[in-house]
Subunit: 344 residues, 2 copies
């Protein structure tokens, strides 16, 4: 009999909806490859309500819902009591994809805590829980014999955390520099083509890269949360994101962009951290001008990348998508694969 994990989807926005589509349409093929099946046994969403079925909810019906249709029409409830569902649903793993307040990580943080407290592993793409409480949540998971995975909090499905903790284990990580916000990188690229900051932001908004309020992207706070997660996980820091100095991209003028370009250099918004000789960690978010030979200089468009500085290998760089529906749903799938590897 094939091993199975029961999944509770908390939040049914783009990410968990895409995970549901993957499970519904590709689950059988994936099971061949992965050695386990996935069954969605609970879904909550503020807009749709709650659907719980220990035998597996009807994903075909969920994915075919009409605008305005609610879970009561599928035998569920129109209410959404996340705490009760997270604590009592017949699930092994909670896929948390609701919302994270950049100030305190809520409500995602409480969702993760409730799940771990009730003996369920968690995968999440929300930055908040990992940035504000990774240590507490990992200890809580260990105490309850479950796992807390959050690869997607940094570069969507592009693996950074597990590259560092797995294949690069023992390499002597001394620091990292990353392009961790695709929107600001896209904007710098368009400014290199001659657009003003304002025009580049407007274009990024039209393309769906930037939010209506682009402050978190261009002001640096999105990168700051990711730098905090990376510094704490990769370098063993114990940083509070509010302690990381932060500078956004709005101080970089078209003239500075053009001047750099004339010398073959590129402005990038860099999130970085370094382990100092005394063991302390210095982290920062700031624009930097990189010459053409820098491994991050050629990372263009909405692509993200992290360059690791290491004792044994010098510089190692990974680049890939930092956003996207399918890419972020894969982050959750990769977390589930990692949970399975640890369960065994």
């Amino acid at each position: 009999m094939t091993k199975n994990y029961n999944i509770a989807l908390i939040g049914l926005g783009n990410v968990n909806r895409t995970l549901a589509e993957i499970i519904h349409t590709e689950g059988t093929a994936l099971a061949q490859d992965l050695g386990f099946t996935l069954r969605v046994t609970a879904i909550t969403d503020l807009r749709f309500g709650t659907l719980v079925d220990a035998a597996g909810v009807d994903l075909g019906a969920v994915l075919a819902m009409e605008p305005g249709q609610k879970f009561s029409s599928l035998g569920g409830s129109d209410d959404c009591d996340n705490e009760t569902v997270i604590r009592t649903a017949p699930a092994d793993i909670v896929a948390e994809a609701t919302f994270t307040n950049p100030e305190d990580g809520e409500p995602a943080l409480s969702h993760v805590r409730w799940a771990l407290e009730s003996g369920k592993s968690v995968c999440t793409t929300n930055k908040g829980p990992a940035a504000f409480a990774a240590k507490e949540l990992k200890a809580l998971a260990a105490k309850n014999g479950v796992f807390f995975e959050f690869e997607g909090a940094v570069m969507s499905g592009t693996p950074v955390l597990r590259l560092a903790s797995g294949p690069l284990k023992g390499v002597g990580m001394t620091g990292f520099s990353g392009i961790l916000n695709g929107t600001s990188n896209y904007i710098f690229g368009r400014m290199e083509s001659g657009l003003s900051l304002e025009a580049a932001i407007a274009e990024a908004q039209d393309l769906g890269y930037a939010e209506a309020d682009p402050t978190a992207d261009i002001g640096g706070s999105d990168v700051r949360l990711k730098v905090t997660v990376l510094a704490n996980e990769l370098l063993g820091a114990d940083l509070d994101s509010k302690d990381v100095p932060m500078e956004g991209i709005t101080g970089i003028t078209p003239a500075m962009i053009a001047d750099a370009l004339s010398r073959g250099a590129h402005w990038k918004l860099i999130g970085a951290a370094t382990k100092n000789a005394d063991g302390t960690i210095t982290a920062s978010v700031a624009p930097a001008m990189l010459d053409s030979t820098h491994p991050l200089a050629g990372i263009s468009g909405a692509t993200n990348a992290v360059m690791f500085d290491t004792d044994y290998l010098g510089r190692v760089t990974i680049s890939g998508p930092g956003a996207g529906r399918k890419e972020t749903a894969y982050a959750l799938l990769s977390d589930i694969i990692a949970i399975d590897a640890q369960v065994n």
Copy 2:
């Protein structure tokens, strides 16, 4: 009591000598990080002979040997019978770093086979065993309850095989393109600066990047072995390296290099493989002109890189060193770490 692995070093050239240095000088610090100690219990080398000590050979004395000094001076033998040592040494893991004939993978291939047959795990940076007999050797390892790891066969310590099999598991790998030979990449870069092919080769030889006979580097056969390993491991192919069409870099003229550069493009020696719709795999080694937006276009100097094509993430690229003493010794260390993870 701390867990320990006994290691037999087969070949004491640059790679295993550096691994011995790491164990000797950093072993205690590494044990803290990794949770196990390493003890070298056997060393063989054609120049020095054989040294076996179940309590651990005196690495300080070995590393301080004068030119011409042999292992008989340290209580060992001046003979080197690799088969007997590999089969009988009191070792858990054999670190194979001798020599691999590009025609049949010997003698490294036999060394690996003897180790696995006698119930010892193997780590190696030799391409031969993985390129010619990975399937057979992995089956042999499984039968004997041990492990065969060869990360360093592709990009030295930069993890490609374990990035694909671990953090990228389930991503739907459909192909890859790589810059897998630092020498030829360095030569193309110097030709972009105006050197002739001959002058660039001579410079690469002076710097120690290229062998006295640079045929394997510039003719493509080094890349062909690596493409074979990658295609078989990442795409589930069953390729014989001799079936992979191969073209080296000597057909690319300074005029072609200059012409590409004038359009912002770069010539690279690309080893690639793709999964076709019918499940077959097409692999190749050939120079290609990449425009500036290609993820591999900016990989300069002796750096290596592999770009994965995937269903869920599109393109993901990892770059890092593809050679070097310390870098390649780390590949062996990372193999040992991977063996430890599987033992547990």
